[in-house]
């Protein structure tokens, strides 16, 4: 069965979609560090070779928060594929992250 033909393209990422991810942190807090580590691990395992990750330090550039309407720190934003999705927290719960980013578990 061809999964792609039955899945909803708007909510479920396709195999060949490239993920554009932005992680907003504020300085080197324990949670920021944990969030970066957690995200790197999840991406390497589940999105190997098809993601772009950008870490934004709002402690240096608070105005960057306006772009993605950031409320809390840390927040991970999936800019691509659309629609935009957000996950707040240190990303320690992998399941929750995969669900929030709509990534099929490998």
């Amino acid at each position: 069965m061809d999964n792609s033909s039955t899945d909803n393209a708007a909510t479920v990422s396709r195999e060949n979609d490239t993920f554009l991810l932005k992680l907003y942190v504020a300085g080197q807090t324990p949670r920021s560090v944990a969030a970066i580590e957690n995200l790197n691990r999840i991406c390497e395992v589940h999105l190997h070779g098809r993601y772009k990750l950008e870490v934004v330090d709002l402690a240096r550039n608070p105005e960057q928060a306006r772009i993605d309407k950031i409320l809390a720190i840390p927040t991970l934003v999936r800019s691509l594929p659309t629609p935009i999705m957000r996950i707040i927290g240190d990303l320690s719960d992998t399941e929750k992250v995969l669900m929030g980013l709509n990534i099929r578990k490998l």
Partner: protein
């Protein structure tokens, strides 16, 4: 009004989407804050710039977000002082707690205390550590809300650019759940108590309980059940009911209990049976078992088998049957006794008349005449009949005995001469007398009658000869002795011979002996093993009546083919007891003359009255006849006029003898009274005249005896004869 409704709808939809998204993001943010996953909030300043705030220092957005949350949230600084709280937190603290230490604002205590530490500083140094506290079980004794239970989350907030900031504490109210848990615990305790109660019941009842599931597998058994099944717990597993519960009938037929079970299930009612349980240990136990079908809460059909050991019950039932049998026997004997006594009483009245009138006729006839001879035969037959009734009365213990304290050996020595005449030559007689002069209260003539009876029976049991011993002796009984007590004697003696000193008279033979059933009925009246016509069946029953009336007992020992021993046991008289002076019996025939004495004769039986009146009149007495007490009082001569004697029957239609005597003692106290009755026992009913017994004559008596008695009374010769019975 919007002229382009289509576009406006799209716009509204977009706005709603956006709002929805913002809301869910706010919820996610709060969730993250609660779980300590958020460092800071990004808040727009009044100048339109984004400012990063640590969560303890949020602006109006933070407040509005906070206040939407139903759970109390406290934000504290690094010295644990509250710097911000939401609406529900303020409600809980009954005012704004900002500025107070968290531990002062709420007296939270850990619900689960290890080792009993009730410190309010249970969160310790969690900000400085920094330590995340998750779902800590705490409670609060709130002055208004009462006992409340919470799960506490506490997260230190540390920002790299600002350093240690403090922490955020959220409380989740779990009071409802906790109370339910406590309720369950309490209920659990009750259940446990109930279980313990049930267990102690099932452990201690004597009935065996087996709980079976739908497939007849054993689910539960109590100790009593295992005891009855003769099985240990270790032998139980893997065995089904049919294997461990095997019952059979008393005759050894196997009982299939499945039919009983099916019956009980069909009826929905208990079924009960009895049988012998074949224990696993090989023992056989009589049991009663009841099968109860049970419907469980989950509608499955289990059942209970209740086992009762009925060994004791069976033996007591047997005993009951036995004692009922005994009672029936005793009632039968009593009935026969009453019948015999009753017949004898009426018969005595008739005999009195027959013999009396015969006597009168004889007096008028010359002894040489043919008629005189015939009448003598009538008189002899009457005397035989009187002796028969006296035997019946002896059995019913209503005959007149004249017991006195006498040497027991005397009974045998007086009998010695007669014995050789009673027995054939092929029977060797040995007499062994007690060297001691044993004395007992006896009526020698009656006791001789008893011994003769026993000797004749011994003779009849030895048609081809043998040996016969007649012995006397002393026996001491220390505790109740039931040996040799057969049939009725055992029953009457209660638990046997009471302890005490006794004299015995013994007749032993080497005859054919008796079997159990004969021994059991030995003393029944009309019971005889002799051929029809040879024995009346009254011999031993009469002997028995006499001995019992003397306060004695019989012991009988017998072995088939070896012989029998009959022992008459009499209570030994006190060594110091003095024998009463011999009193003459009814005097012999002697001419009498009434010499004009006035006698009132009170008797309701007309023939008897007429006869007695005739005798008296013919002997010179003046007679006033009355048919009962009232009649007598009506005909009573006035005080001062002559009246020498009142002869009265005891029991009459209307006023009886005793009552009449009472009246007479008031009206004519000087007059002597002679009571007559067919019952010896009636004598006990007589009124006691100061210091002596009243005059009494038992029917039947001959005319001569009657006249002699009256003469003696009137001459003041006789005091009433002492009569003892029972």
């Amino acid at each position: 009004m919007d002229p382009r409704p289509g576009r406006s709808d799209d716009e509204a939809e977009r706005q709603e989407d956006s709002l929805q998204r913002r809301l869910s993001e706010a919820e996610a943010t709060l969730d993250a804050i609660r779980s300590g996953a958020v460092d800071a909030l990004v808040i727009s300043s009044p100048h339109g710039e984004e400012v990063i705030h640590s969560i303890m220092d949020m602006g109006s957005l933070g407040d509005s977000l906070f206040n939407q949350v139903a759970q109390p949230i406290f934000i504290i600084d690094k010295s644990y002082r509250i710097i911000r709280s939401n609406k529900s937190a303020q409600e809980l603290c009954d005012g704004n707690p900002v500025g107070t230490l968290f531990s002062d604002a709420l007296q939270l205590r850990p619900a689960i205390t290890d080792g009993g530490t009730q410190s309010t500083d249970f969160m310790g140094d969690w900000i400085r550590q920094p330590r995340h506290i998750s779902a800590l079980d705490v409670f609060l004794d709130h002055p208004v809300l009462g006992m409340r239970f919470y799960l506490l989350d506490a997260n230190p907030v540390m920002l790299s650019w600002e350093g240690l900031q403090g922490g955020i504490i959220t409380l989740m109210d779990i009071t409802e759940r906790k109370l339910a848990e406590i309720h369950m615990t309490v209920k659990g305790g009750q259940l446990r108590r109930q279980f313990n109660l049930m267990k102690s019941i099932s452990d201690n009842i004597p009935e065996g309980l087996l709980l079976l599931d739908e497939d007849q597998r054993l689910v539960f058994q109590n100790p009593a059940a295992m005891l009855m099944l003769g099985i240990t717990e270790s032998e139980l597993p893997g065995r089904d009911l049919a294997e461990i519960f095997r019952v059979e009938t008393e005759s050894g037929e196997r009982i299939d209990i499945s039919r009983m079970q099916a019956d009980a299930r069909d009826k929905g009612d208990a079924a009960t049976q009895r049988g012998i349980l074949l224990g696993w240990d090989g023992r056989r136990r009589p049991i009663q078992y009841s099968y109860y079908p049970v419907k469980d809460f989950d509608d499955s059909r289990s059942s209970i088998l209740v086992l009762s050991d009925i060994s004791d019950r069976l033996s007591s039932e047997k005993q009951l049957l036995l004692s009922m049998e005994k009672q029936q026997q005793s009632q039968k004997m009593e009935a026969i006794g009453r019948l015999a006594g009753g017949i004898a009483h009426d018969f005595n009245n008739l005999l009195l008349v027959i013999m009396g009138f015969t006597d009168l006729a004889l007096m008028e006839l010359h002894p040489e005449t043919h008629l005189h001879g015939n009448l003598m035969e009538v008189k002899k037959a009457g005397e035989k009949a009187a002796s028969l009734t006296s035997q019946l009365l002896a059995y019913s213990r209503k005959q007149v005995l004249a017991p006195n304290i006498r040497p027991v050996n005397g009974v045998i020595t007086d009998l010695q001469k007669m014995v050789s005449r009673l027995l054939d030559e092929n029977i060797r007689v040995q007499i062994e007398l007690s060297p001691e002069n044993l004395r007992a209260e006896i009526d020698p003539a009656k006791l001789q009658q008893v011994l003769v009876n026993l000797i004749l029976n011994a003779r009849d049991s030895m048609p081809r000869g043998g040996s016969l011993w007649i012995r006397s002796g002393r026996m001491e009984v220390e505790s109740r002795d039931i040996s040799g007590m057969v049939g009725e004697i055992r029953k009457e003696s209660g638990d046997g011979l009471p302890p005490g000193s006794y004299a015995y008279l013994e007749i032993e033979d080497t005859g054919h002996g008796m079997d159990e059933s004969t021994l059991g009925r030995l003393f029944e009246p009309f019971f005889t093993t002799k051929e029809f016509g040879k024995g009346s069946g009254l011999g031993l029953s009469t002997a028995y009546g006499i001995v019992r009336q003397l306060g004695g007992f019989f012991q009988v020992f017998s072995t088939i083919g070896k012989g029998s021993t009959f022992k008459v046991i009499l209570p030994l008289a006190d060594a110091n007891a003095k024998a009463r002076p011999e009193t003459p019996g009814l005097p012999g025939t002697r001419p009498v003359n009434g010499k004009g004495k006035r006698v009132m004769l009170v008797e309701d039986e007309e023939v008897v009255r007429r006869f007695l009146a005739k005798i008296l009149k013919e002997n010179g007495y003046y007679v006033i006849e009355a048919s009962n007490g009232e009649d007598a009082l009506g005909k009573l001569p006035l005080p001062g006029s002559q009246l020498d004697l009142v002869v009265t029957d005891l029991i009459m239609n209307g006023m009886g003898g005793v009552e009449l005597a009472g009246e007479l003692s008031r009206l004519r106290p000087e007059v002597e009274i002679l009571f007559i009755s067919g019952y010896a026992e009636d004598q006990h009913k007589l009124p006691l005249v100061a210091g002596s017994n009243p005059h009494f004559a038992a029917k039947p008596f001959s005319a001569d005896e009657f006249l002699a008695k009256i003469r003696d009374i009137l001459e003041g010769k006789t005091r009433p004869k002492p009569v003892l019975s029972e």
